[in-house]
């Protein structure tokens, strides 16, 4: 029972006009070594806040208010920035949703890839440059030597995301956090990037935390999945179990709206209604306003995460009784 990453009771708030308001609340999950964990949910449900909390890269108006983040048994919450910097880019690497803007426009590709090696491994300019070329080859970029000498604006979105992956892989991280790595790319490129991540994971025994709004991607890539809604985990379990027996009405809604391959670009939208904003969180179940099964109890009391089976939980009163008919 020593997971690579163990998040418990994580609550992260942002300073707003009405004081600190939680964007995610009491989030619990773990990632085992070599495992790919999917985190899914609609826009604004707190996926990025969760990953930035782990990296301790929240914007200055955000802070972790409660909870613990254990990485290899080490507490990251409250860790000094100097110690956290030794972990970032080294043990935990991250890639982002926006490949077009995530690379520094005024530095050459090779320099940007080699940077974490200079920071963490003390390599000099030539060594890190050479290693950068190797990494470009690793992520399948043709003419790696030439590309290392290019500036980012000469590359397409898909190429840039490969470069981001090369940056992330530089120090052989134990955990790769990928925040919607393919959302901004077109479908064929999406598939290539996912293939690349799968290949790298297999070669390097790394764990992946894959954030997506696309359950189709989860089915292809992940071992387990955490479904988030309005800042809370509403269901989690093995991918197989969740696809076979989705329990939370929100998960059921997501599953019935998996876009087909051709229009995976589109955000999930088939569940009517909107995610409540952090300023106006309802007292009871946060999904009640959109839930076809909502009762008075749902509006009054918030359910906790209830066990469906040993490794499968859902935050819904229906679990108590009989499970939901799909």
């Amino acid at each position: 029972m020593s997971a690579l990453l163990e998040v418990s009771g994580l609550t992260t708030s942002f300073l707003t006009a009405s004081g600190y308001l939680p964007a995610i609340e009491d989030v619990n999950f773990a990632i085992e070594k070599g495992e790919t964990l999917g985190i899914v949910g609609e826009s604004g449900c707190g996926k990025s806040v969760t990953s930035l909390s782990i990296m301790q890269l929240l914007s200055s108006n955000g802070k972790i208010q409660k909870g613990s983040i254990l990485f290899e048994g080490k507490q990251l919450v409250g860790l000094k920035d100097t110690s956290m910097r030794k972990i970032r880019g080294n043990d935990i690497a991250m890639i982002f949703q926006e490949p077009m803007t995530s690379l520094n426009p005024v530095h050459k590709i090779g320099k940007q890839i080699g940077e974490s090696l200079r920071i963490h491994r003390g390599l000099n300019k030539e060594q890190s440059k050479q290693k950068a070329v190797d990494l470009l080859k690793l992520v399948g970029i043709p003419r790696a030597e030439d590309i290392a000498d290019e500036y980012p604006h000469r590359l397409s979105g898909g190429m840039r995301q490969r470069v981001m992956i090369a940056i992330a892989m530089a120090c052989d991280p134990k955990l790769l956090i990928a925040d919607e790595p393919t959302t901004a790319l077109d479908v064929t490129i999406q598939a290539q990037i996912l293939d690349l991540m799968r290949k790298l994971k297999a070669e390097r025994e790394m764990s992946i935390m894959l954030i997506t709004h696309d359950l189709g991607v989860v089915a292809e890539m992940c071992d387990r999945v955490v479904v988030m809604y309005a800042g809370k985990v509403v269901e989690q379990g093995a991918v197989r179990d969740i696809f076979r027996k989705p329990t939370h009405p929100y998960t059921i809604g997501l599953l019935s709206s998996i876009p087909r391959l051709e229009d995976r670009q589109q955000r999930l939208s088939s569940i009517p209604g909107n995610v409540p904003s952090i300023e106006v969180m309802p007292a009871g179940c946060r999904f009640a306003s959109r839930c076809p099964h909502a009762t008075q109890r749902c509006a009054d009391d918030e359910p906790s995460l209830l066990s469906v089976t040993d490794n499968h939980q859902a935050r819904c009163w229906l679990v108590d009784e009989k499970g939901v008919a799909v």
Binding site: L57, R88, T101, P105, V106, S116, Y151, H153, M164
Partner: protein
């Protein structure tokens, strides 16, 4: 890139032509006669007419302009009406002093403005940013002559650290340079603060942090080179403004540079000197702007010259 520079220099020639016409026309449209100014208000009309003829002022304006330009391309800017010396000599004697002063002013401006801007951005809305912003606001609001006189009084006169005015070595350019810098640095600091704030919240800065880069590395290796681009544009404009500013400052500090030469020429209606200094300043400003545009491409690889 070479062809770009050549094209830009071609454009510069056109700008110079335009400025020369405008200056020429304005200088001679003033409802006062240079010849009268030279001989004095009580001299007889006949003498005025004689001087007119001597200076070629009896000819029509377009002819005078063509003659002037013809001399100009042969490197001859004419004789000063008043100082009895070739204008090129006058400019040559003064240009070094003004260049030193302008350079000192500009460097001091950057030395004050850039760190202030970086600090304000990094400590955005913290007390140190408020102090920096307040200082910047004070600097912007104060008139040049006031700052100049205060510095003269306190540092020059009361503390007796530096000469109060005049022209000489390095010591003589510090106070006038500082005067310009205090009133101008705030533009750089504000500009830099805004662009650095923008850059610091950008995705690629997050990427740098995610690599484990230290705050110093994030600011200096990643943010500054992007954040400095707007300041670079302003630098080009500022150098033009610098010439105007230096005129006032030279006057306040009794510093004999081109500015002072120009001011005296204007009050004497010494048209060849007016023309010479204006054209010289224009040529310089245009050249600086070409240099700035080339620098752009070095700082920002996304810019191509076409």
């Amino acid at each position: 890139m070479i062809s770009y520079i050549i094209r830009r220099l071609g454009g510069a020639v056109i700008v110079l032509l335009g400025i020369s016409i405008i200056t020429f026309v304005i200088a001679f449209l003033v409802p006062a006669n240079p010849a009268r100014a030279i001989v004095g208000p009580h001299a007889p009309e006949a003498l005025v007419l004689q001087v007119d003829k001597q200076l070629g002022l009896d000819q029509p304006l377009p002819i005078r302009y063509v003659n002037y330009m013809n001399n100009l391309v042969h490197g001859n800017l004419g004789m000063s009406y008043v100082l009895d010396q070739p204008v090129t000599n006058l400019i040559e004697q003064r240009v070094g002093a003004t260049a030193q002063l302008a350079l000192a002013a500009w460097v001091l401006e950057l030395v004050i403005g850039i760190p202030l801007g970086i600090i304000s951005a990094v400590y955005d809305r913290k007390i140190i940013d408020h102090i920096a912003s307040l200082l910047a606001l004070i600097g912007i609001s104060l008139p040049v002559f006031f700052v100049g006189l205060e510095l003269m009084y306190w540092i020059g006169f009361r503390l007796n650290w530096l000469p109060v005015g005049g022209t000489g070595g390095f010591n003589y350019i510090i106070l006038p340079g500082l005067t310009y810098a205090i009133t101008g640095a705030a533009y750089y600091s504000r500009l830099l603060k805004a662009s650095m704030l923008d850059v610091l919240s950008s995705d690629y800065i997050r990427t740098a942090k995610a690599k484990g880069a230290s705050p110093a590395r994030v600011i200096f290796a990643h943010a500054l080179r992007n954040g400095i681009i707007p300041a670079l544009t302003y630098g080009g404009i500022d150098i033009a403004a610098l010439f105007g500013g230096v005129v006032v400052i030279e006057d306040v500090f009794g510093y004999s540079g081109l500015g002072q030469l120009a001011v005296q020429a204007i009050s004497n209606l010494d048209v060849p000197v007016i023309m010479g200094t204006v054209l010289f300043a224009t040529a310089f400003v245009v050249l600086v702007n070409v240099v700035v545009d080339v620098l752009y491409g070095i700082v920002d690889p996304r810019i191509t010259y076409s």
